[in-house]
Structure formats: structure tokens, C-alpha cells
Amino acid sequence: MNTLLATHGLTGGYGDFQALFGVDLEVREGEVVALIGANGAGKSTLLKTVTGLLPARADQVTWRGEPIGGARAERIVGLGLALVPEGRRLFSSLSVEENLLLGAQANRTRARKWHLDSVYALFPILKEKRRQPSTSLSGGQQQMVAIGRALMSNPRLLMCDELSLGLAPIVVREIYDALPALVEDGMSVLIVEQDVQLARRVSQRFYCLQEGRVSLSGASASASDADIANAYFGVAA
């Protein structure tokens, strides 16, 4: 399995506020990696930096070995990297369907496993509301649109920030059940998840961030809860 995305000593933050201190992380083809950590640990910041929404040094982020750090977001996503941002961030003046269609805009080249129908198949409720303004959807429904929108670009790497946030268990279940299917056809997934158990169950490997540093990483199956709790809060909780 060759490496898709990797960060090397990634630093980043907001203006003079530094949130990341030398993070090393890698995602290989077709694997599911979980990124866990307490609130404010820097998970979202990491994702934003990788996708080019926040500045970085070129060599700090590589895509298949190519340095892409600090490149424009609109370029990076063209490479086949999609982000489901924290808090959905749908386009309020577009209908649900238009939101999804826009997602397809990022990709012009790659195979089209994901298109409107397949997304509607994954989230049937969206089909009913396809014509509605996305603002009129419930929190959960909006999350579905956000995911669908990301899928529409048929990314090689799907990055999800706080997927299960505000989702009913049944929906969370549906989504995570869909994961293996996604990975099957070679798509890698990097998920930020607060529910550690869930995160470990669906992922092969995990990284735990603590105050902007990787405090623990490894195979999801092997790590002990004690270690993780420790990595989470610095001291054993």
C-alpha cells in the first residue's frame, strides 16, 4: 500500500496563534485512519491546513510524494482530496441537489462511482428534499448533504470532521456502515471522531492529537484504552 497523503512536521494556526506543533501523519491507499483528540487539540486545524484553507510550508504536506503544502485549496481538492468541514457549511441559497452537483465540480477526471443517484441511494431522505433550500434541512440532514457533496467529487481521500456530530445513532450507524463500501473501491478515509470507540472500530490505524502534537498513534485494534485516555488528556484520567 503506497502513501497517499503525508504531513512532515506540520505546523499551523491562525495568525499568531499556533495550533499545530510538528505533526507527522500519513494515510495510505484504501485505509481508514481515525484522528482523535480532545476539543481544541487541533484536529480541524490539521484538516484545514492539509486542504490549503490555512497556510503551510510546501514540504510539510505531500500528496503521493509531491509537495502540496500551502497550495491553493481549489488546486489541492483537484488532486482528489475532499473535506467534510466541521459544522456542515452548506450553501444556503442552493437547493440540496445543487449543493451536491457543486461537489462534482472539483473533479473532472476521475471515475464517477459517486453521482446523484448513488448519493440519494445512500441517503434516501435527501432525494425527497432535493429541491428544498439546504437551510431548511435539519442539522442531521445537513450533515448528510455535506457528506454527499464531498463524495460527489469521487475523492481518493475523504476527510470528515466530526462526522457523527448531531447525528441520530441510526444515521451514524448508516454512515459508518457505508465506510467499508467506500474503502473497497480504493478510497481512503481520514475521520475526525469524538466517539473513540466508534473511531477505533471503523479504522485500521489512529492518531491521537493533544495540544497540537501527536501524543499516540498505531493500529486501532491493539491500542489499550488506558494508553488512549492517557494520550487524550496527558495524564491518566
Binding site: Y14, G15, S44, L53, P85, G87, R89, T135
Partner: protein, 376 residues
């Protein structure tokens, strides 16, 4: 409550502010004595500065604090002027007496107007208010008793001795400046001022926290109208001749916007700094006509693009200066209490996107609480 209450204090005044208040009082005294030592031109300059300043400050109250960005304040400037003039010319009152009366009447007229204006928000509000001003301009232009489109002159002052007239006008101007500033300052420090900022950030959330949004907005709008009326009445007492195009010219608001933006939006110091600067420019460069105006326009653009917080905003962030602090800082007193005065964000917020006065209640768009940095 069960928990032992920690000791704390809430800091509002700063050292600078205490000094400033003294300085200002001294200044007022100096100005008051001007008729006895200063030249006639100085007197007139002050009167003009005063009306520009009061008008700008009121626009700042409306837009900078109230989040109601209007391009239509000239409506009240003009009304103030015309009401003063009409009272003086027809009712034969002394123009000086007419000034405050005109302001009150202006506010009264603003009540029904607000009902229309408040149907709008954001850009709509801005343009809508402008149109309303036009309605007043065209309306008055069709009243031949007021000279119609050609306007008319203030006759009441002819028979007052020149020096008396000038000193009284000056004192009137001074009184207006001091009063207006004091009132606005007190208002902003009050819990109503607190509500105002909250509304500006998120009206829906504010109302669910018990803030009477519509009420607060109305109060601000009326204050601003009255203030603009004062400024207008004062200006035309000094200028003697009024015409609809001049009185209701959008340039008044344009100048107010420049003044406030250059000085610093959403600060009380801003308009002061802005007015002085604007006035100096106007005095010494305005003879360059077009070139001067081109320069003014460019200045406004540059400042907005590169110093969105305005000159004062820039200074006060740089040196943490504040002459009129309205913010509150909580300071924990018992030792060891985490007191992140170190992690201070400056009390004075930079000019950030003012959330539009009303946003749909169930809108889940996290626009105003987005963790993503806004690209500038």
C-alpha cells in the same frame, strides 16, 4: 447558589479614559471662552466642525453600534435644517431656540419612517433609507412656501448684532457637541448599549436572551435621527441659505461615512479623530476641486481596504489606548485564579462583519460562528 463566590472586580475605566475626561472638560472651557480671544473664522470653523462631528457620531451610533448601515441620514439632516428655518421664518422664533425644537420634531417624524425602514435589512436598509431621503428631498422641493427647488434664506438673524450672533451660535454648538457626546457615551455604557452590541452580532440569539430587539433598534434610530436633525439645524444656522439639493444631499452621509471609517467605526474616538482629519483636509485642499475630491475618495478606499479598523482603531490596538471604554473586563482577585489578562484580546473589537439585522430563525448557517478564518 451553593458554590463559594470568588472575589472579583469588573474594570471599565482605563487610566487613559480618566485623563481624557479631564482634558475634554478643560477643552470645553477653552472653547466656551473663544468669543473673547479667538478670531471670527475660528468661531465659524468650530461651528462647522461641530455639525460635521455630531452628524458623523450619530451615523456611527446607528451603523457602527446599531448595525443599521444607512445611506439616508441626510433625510434628518435636511429636515432639521428645514424645520429650524421654517420655525424661524414663519413662527418668528429665534433661530437658536428653533434648533433644539427642530431636533425633537425630526425625531417625531422619524417614528413613522422607522416603520418603513425597519422592514429592510443589510444592503436593502442602506438603499431604502437613501430612497426615503430622496422622498423628503423631492417632497420639500415641491413646497413653494419653502422656496421649492431653489430653496430659501434664513431671515431671522439679520437684526441680531453680529458679535452676539456669533458667540451665541458658538455656545450653542459647544453645548450640542458636549451633550450629544455625553448622552451617546452613557447610552453605550448602559445595559442598553450592551444589548445593542449583542443585536449587531446576532439579533435572533439576542432576542432569545431577553433583549427587546425592535425596541432597542428603534431607540437608537430615533436618537440618530434627532442627532442628525441637531447637526442639520446647527449647520444651517451658520450657513443661512438652504435648498433641498443641498440639505438632502447624499454627500452628507458620504462625508459621515468617510469620517467614521477613517477615524474608526464602532468607537467614540473614531468620529473625533475622523472629523478633525476630514476638516483639516477640507480646509487646506478643497481648493484643488476635483483633485481634492479624487484624493478623498481614494483615501476612503485605501483606509477601508487596509485599515478596516480606522486610524483610531489602529492606534488603540497598537497602544491599547482607550479614551471612551465601553467594554467590561472581569478580573479575578484571589491568588492563583487563572486570570488571562495576558491572553487579552484587545477590548476594542476590530471591524468584523456585522451580522445582518435579521436572519431567518431556523437558519442553521454557521456563518457568524465559523471556525474557518475569513479570507481577507
Amino acid at each position: 447558589m451553593d458554590a463559594v463566590r470568588p472575589r472579583f472586580e469588573v474594570r471599565r475605566a482605563t487610566r487613559a479614559s480618566r485623563i481624557a475626561s479631564l482634558v475634554l472638560i478643560a477643552l470645553a472651557v477653552v472653547v466656551a471662552s473663544m468669543p473673547f480671544w479667538a478670531g471670527r473664522d475660528a468661531l465659524r470653523d468650530f461651528i462647522e466642525i461641530a455639525s460635521y462631528f455630531v452628524f458623523a457620531m450619530m451615523w456611527n451610533l446607528l451603523a457602527g453600534y446599531g448595525g443599521m448601515v444607512s445611506i439616508g441620514q441626510q433625510a434628518y439632516f435636511g429636515l432639521g435644517g428645514y424645520l429650524m428655518l421654517a420655525l424661524a421664518n414663519f413662527a418668528g422664533l429665534s433661530p437658536f431656540v428653533c434648533v433644539p425644537i427642530a431636533a425633537v420634531l425630526t425625531a417625531i417624524i422619524a417614528v413613522p419612517v422607522s416603520r418603513i425602514a425597519f422592514r429592510l435589512s443589510g444592503g436593502y436598509f442602506a438603499v431604502g433609507t437613501w430612497v426615503i431621503a430622496e422622498v423628503f428631498r423631492l417632497g420639500i422641493a415641491n413646497i413653494s412656501a419653502l422656496g421649492g427647488g431653489s430653496g430659501t434664506s434664513l431671515t431671522g438673524l439679520g437684526d441680531i448684532a453680529r458679535s452676539t450672533r456669533e458667540s451665541i451660535t458658538l455656545w450653542l454648538a459647544l453645548a450640542i457637541v458636549v451633550l450629544a457626546t455625553a448622552l451617546v457615551y452613557r447610552f453605550l455604557r448602559s445595559k442598553a448599549g450592551l444589548a445593542l452590541t449583542a443585536i449587531r452580532d446576532d439579533a435572533v440569539a439576542a432576542s432569545s436572551q431577553g433583549v427587546h430587539v425592535a425596541g432597542t433598534r428603534l431607540v437608537v434610530y430615533l436618537c440618530a435621527a434627532a442627532g442628525a436633525g441637531l447637526a442639520g439645524a446647527l449647520y444651517f444656522v451658520g450657513n443661512l441659505r438652504i435648498s433641498p439639493d443641498a440639505a438632502f444631499s447624499v454627500n452628507w452621509t458620504a462625508f459621515a461615512i468617510f469620517i467614521v471609517m477613517i477615524g474608526g467605526l464602532g468607537t467614540l474616538e473614531g468620529p473625533i479623530v475622523g472629523t478633525l482629519l476630514f476638516y483639516v483636509l477640507n480646509k487646506f485642499l478643497s481648493d484643488y476641486g476635483t483633485l481634492y475630491l479624487i484624493g478623498l475618495g481614494l483615501l476612503a478606499i485605501v483606509v477601508t481596504l487596509f485599515f478596516p479598523q480606522g486610524l483610531w482603531g489602529y492606534v488603540s490596538r497598537r497602544f491599547g489606548l482607550q479614551f471612551f471604554p465601553v467594554g467590561r473586563r472581569l478580573v479575578m482577585l484571589e491568588p492563583g485564579a487563572p486570570n488571562d489578562a495576558s491572553a487579552q484580546v484587545p477590548l476594542q473589537p476590530a471591524l468584523q462583519p456585522i451580522s445582518q439585522p435579521t436572519s431567518p430563525p431556523t437558519s442553521q448557517s454557521p456563518s457568524q460562528s465559523s471556525p474557518l478564518p475569513r479570507t481577507r
